[in-house]
Symmetry: C2
Subunit: 160 residues, 2 copies
C-alpha cells in the first residue's frame, strides 16, 4: 500500500480543486515552505499518486442531457463468440463522440454513458444504433435527471 500524511492529502485536495495553483500559493495556504511543497508534489508524481494533470470542459461543450444505457447480449452456444461480440460492440460505441464512457459488465453486459442535446435525441440514437444490434436480450436506458455527486464528470469525459 501507499501511505499519505495530512500534508500530502491537503496538497492533493487543493490540486483537485485547482491544478494551476502555484507552489508558492500552496505553500502559503498550507503554511509550509515552498521547497517542501515542491518536494512532496515531486514524490506524489513519482509514486503515481498523481497520475496526470488535465482540464475539465465547461457548459458550452457539455451535452445538455445524459443517460446510462445497459446492454446485455444473448449467451451463444459457442462461448468464444461472446467475448468477440462484446468487444465489437464496445469498440464501436467507443468511437462515437456522444458516447462518453463504456464499460464491460459481467461477461455479456455493457454499460455506456451517452450524451446528447435532448433526451429524445439520445433515445433516437439508442434506437438507431443500439437496439438494432443483433442478439441482444436487454437494452435499458437510465436517464439522468441530475447528478448529485461527481457533477463535473461530464466535462471531464466530453470530447473536444
Amino acid at each position: 500500500m501507499i501511505q499519505l500524511d495530512d500534508l500530502d492529502r491537503a496538497i492533493l485536495k487543493l490540486l483537485k480543486q485547482d491544478a494551476r495553483l502555484t507552489i508558492s500559493e500552496l505553500a502559503e495556504r498550507l503554511n509550509r515552505p515552498e521547497s517542501t511543497i515542491h518536494f512532496r508534489i515531486k514524490k506524489l508524481i513519482e509514486k503515481g499518486v498523481i497520475d496526470r494533470y488535465t482540464i475539465i470542459l465547461g457548459e458550452p461543450l457539455k451535452p445538455k442531457s445524459v443517460v446510462a444505457v445497459y446492454i446485455e447480449t444473448e449467451i451463444p452456444v459457442i462461448e468464444d463468440f461472446l467475448e468477440k461480440y462484446i468487444n465489437h460492440i464496445t469498440k464501436t460505441l467507443s468511437m462515437l463522440p456522444n458516447v462518453l464512457a463504456v464499460a464491460k459488465s459481467g461477461r455479456n453486459g455493457i454499460m455506456a454513458l451517452i450524451g446528447g442535446e435532448t433526451e429524445e435525441q439520445i433515445e433516437k440514437f439508442v434506437d438507431d444504433t443500439i437496439r438494432t444490434l443483433p442478439s441482444l436480450r436487454r437494452v435499458e436506458v437510465f436517464p439522468f435527471t441530475s447528478i448529485v455527486k461527481g457533477k463535473d464528470v461530464i466535462g471531464f469525459l466530453v470530447d473536444v
Copy 2:
C-alpha cells in the same frame, strides 16, 4: 452556441492530455507565437469552455473494483414523499467516500458508482447500506469487468 476553430480545439486536446504543458511548449507544437496561445487560453477560460484544471489520481488510490448500482424506490401515494426520500438517499450516498458518483434517474431512480477493494466487499456494502433501505422495489448491481472508454474517470472521481 459557441464556436471554436482548429487552433482552439488543438489547444484543448493537448491540455486534456496534459494540462501542465507550458504555453511555450504548446506554442512550439502548434507553430504559433506564445502570445497567441496565451490569448486563446485566456479566452477559452473566460468563455467557460475550460471550466477548471485538475489532477487525476493514479493506481495507488484507485479502488480495484467498481460497480454501478441502480436503485428504484416504490412510488408512494403522497408524491411529495418521493422527492424527499430520493434526496435523502442521494445525499446519504454522496457522503460516503467509496461512492464515486451519484445521479438521480427519472423520478424514482438513482444510479450510483461504487468503488471498493473487491467485488465481494462492494456487494457487502450494497447489502448493508442500500438493500436495507425501506421502500425499494429494485436494486440491481452492474459489476464493471473493464472500462473501455473513459478509463481514468475513476482516478478523476476518487476521493483523497
